[in-house]
Symmetry: C2
Subunit: 212 residues, 2 copies
Amino acid sequence: MKLYTYAGAPNPRRVHLYLAEKGLEIPCEKVDIMARANREPAFLEKVNRLGGIPVLELDNGSHLAESVAICRYLEVLHPEPPLFGTTAEEVGRIEMWSRRIELNLMRPVGMVWLHGSPFTKAVMPNQIAEVAEQSRGQARDFQRFLDRALAEHDYIAGNEFTIADILALTTIDFAAGLVELPIDPERESLVAWHERVSARPSAKEHPAVSLG
Amino acid sequence: MKLYTYAGAPNPRRVHLYLAEKGLEIPCEKVDIMARANREPAFLEKVNRLGGIPVLELDNGSHLAESVAICRYLEVLHPEPPLFGTTAEEVGRIEMWSRRIELNLMRPVGMVWLHGSPFTKAVMPNQIAEVAEQSRGQARDFQRFLDRALAEHDYIAGNEFTIADILALTTIDFAAGLVELPIDPERESLVAWHERVSARPSAKEHPAVSLG
């Protein structure tokens, strides 16, 4: 097994946090996304036709792309400690929160990155500033929603740390570090959650990359 | 158990297709999204603070939102026939394809709906036509990618029908029916897949809604 990755970037970081939480180690091959190595023909043909990382190369030679797909694959092989839940209700609730993070936070933050960042302008010449602004507002609205939820439970999907916390942490650090969308200090429960998960050994070992 | 739903709309339709494929029945309560019943204070407070449907009300009174979260909950209770895979590799591959559909197809189709449809103009006064156009291009690019993959396997995630087919079918029918983004007839493998999955009893019983 081998993980194609770029440590610190938001999507690969999810897998590195997951591995650290599970106490797993996998050999890694760095793909220099800043030099667009993930868009080279050899990578597209052999590893991931869509060009994204992380990608897990399995021992049978096949490739598994998408951060959460890699984590789910590993979860079947290494179920303890469970990060996707065990009972039907846990499994459903963790998936609900994971999707909320993806759809209501990662999506707008990604739109700010694509349409509002000088770093992406070279690959996204038709940036639309208004999209970045609308998306900033959506991300802030979701921070408020998340803050209210975190006043009721310590972690994103309940009272245990799960994959939903990994998705939220990587997205929030991405937003703060790369598109100037830090957590509003008024969101006290969200700030306290962020301190709580950032203090975990997994997060300290695998910090977010900064372009600053 | 009770399902808050609006038959035929893209996200609720996923759950109805899933239930039909599993041979399950759940009492339903219609939420008239066309009359914005899902934005009423009582719905937001008691059922889903984010206002989306479908939502599954569990017997303990709690609520599970998000189409795929509801399906995963039911999958734990009713594992046969498996629609999320069984082995680690199946589970990973089905999740990879499900995410590809969500991120590379549902996301741009949703943007066309929000920014390019007269039906959404009332709730989205700041529509940006250029976003709709860029998103149309992204959806067409992904159709090409999907077509190439479906030349290699009969279903989205391999040679079995899975949740990834449900996500792809509901998204493609949404795109064709509501935002004038039908499958390009040149994408012959994708057209053949669409005929194959549309011929299943689940799809015939639960057609997509049309606004036409």
